[in-house]
């Protein structure tokens, strides 16, 4: 990747998520750095900066943190980088400069949270309360709250099923597990998948269960494909 591609991808990452003036400022900053580094310093600078996705996530995270708690978001990064134990752990990660990146699905959740979807936060808290009751031995209250949690999960699913199916599909496309042509079909038919992801987001099912649901969804897709005789 050269710096022209970096800037283009960064712009693409930020497009629609920030005002144009903010995007221009960010691009100017990076363009200036590349200009100063020159051709000989470009590769090192690209390595230090990380991927365009990472650079964009830093900007967006800070934008969100301005409304929330900016110091906390920042301290975690400086701490990770400065701590030798964590550095070693990061060195063991095979993805270059991707050690601080979250999966697209989680990023989407954080974005949703940062945009103020406090309803989801509320439901999560409900689940944590239930676990706390359960740990204290107050099982009747825990079960009651679990039931409430399940009902609210269902409600969330009913409300957000289309957008969640879309989110799930986009996350799969990001991971190159699915092609764009499958997107439209998934928005219409991917409710099973979106239910699994809804529950996963809310912490109701394990990661493995979610993957199982995704695999089932793919199973259905392959069956459909075979039935159509590979018409697509």
């Amino acid at each position: 990747m050269d710096h022209f591609l970096f800037l283009r991808l960064l712009e693409k990452e930020l497009h629609g998520k920030l005002p144009e003036i903010e995007i221009k400022e960010a691009l100017d900053y990076y363009r200036n750095l590349f200009d100063e580094a020159g051709a000989e310093g470009e590769a090192r600078l690209l390595h230090d900066i990380g991927t365009p996705q990472f650079a964009a996530s830093r900007i967006l995270k800070d934008q969100a943190a301005t409304n929330d708690d900016e110091s906390e978001a920042f301290e975690s990064e400086t701490w990770n980088k400065g701590n030798p134990d964590k550095q070693q752990a990061a060195a063991g990660n095979s993805r270059p400069s991707g050690d601080e990146q979250e999966p697209p699905c989680r990023q989407a959740v954080h974005e949703a949270e940062n945009r103020g979807y406090s309803f989801l936060k509320g439901i999560r808290m409900l689940r944590e309360t239930s676990i706390a009751f359960s740990q204290e031995g107050n099982h009747s209250k825990a079960i009651l709250i679990w039931i409430l949690f399940a009902l609210l999960c269902l409600l969330v699913f009913m409300i957000f099923r289309k957008s969640l199916a879309l989110l799930a599909s986009i996350s799969l496309i990001n991971r190159s597990l699915m092609s764009e042509s499958m997107l439209a079909e998934d928005i219409i038919n991917g409710y099973g998948l979106s239910l699994a992801i809804t529950l996963r987001i809310l912490g109701g099912v394990s990661f493995r269960l979610m993957i199982a649901a995704i695999l089932m969804r793919f199973g259905c897709w392959w069956i459909a494909l075979i039935c159509k005789g590979g018409a697509r």
């Binding site: 903010e22 990076y30 200036n32 600078l45 230090d48 900007i59 900016e70 990064e77 400065g82 701590n83």
Partner: protein, 103 residues
Amino acid sequence: MVFPVGSTLLDACILSMLSKGDTYGYVLTQQMKSIVDLSESALYPVLRRLQKNDYLDTYDIPFQGRIRRFYRITEAGQTILKYYQEQWLEYKTKIGDIIGGNT
């Protein structure tokens, strides 16, 4: 460095560097990188935030057929830097009293 550098301390470092003279992005990030292990992508949001808070501003100077963007500390930046310096001295003394190293 094993001690985390919080955003306030980072702000103080950047403002302190700029108080010694205007400088352009590349030099500023390289100077910061020499004291804190931070990437350029982590520094940009800090600079942007300081700019939005009117603690620093920027101006462009043409250089070899392109634009070089300089950062400059503002009056508000000087004021907050003075406050940070006082706070840092107090913090340094108190921590030094406990873990040693005060001379």
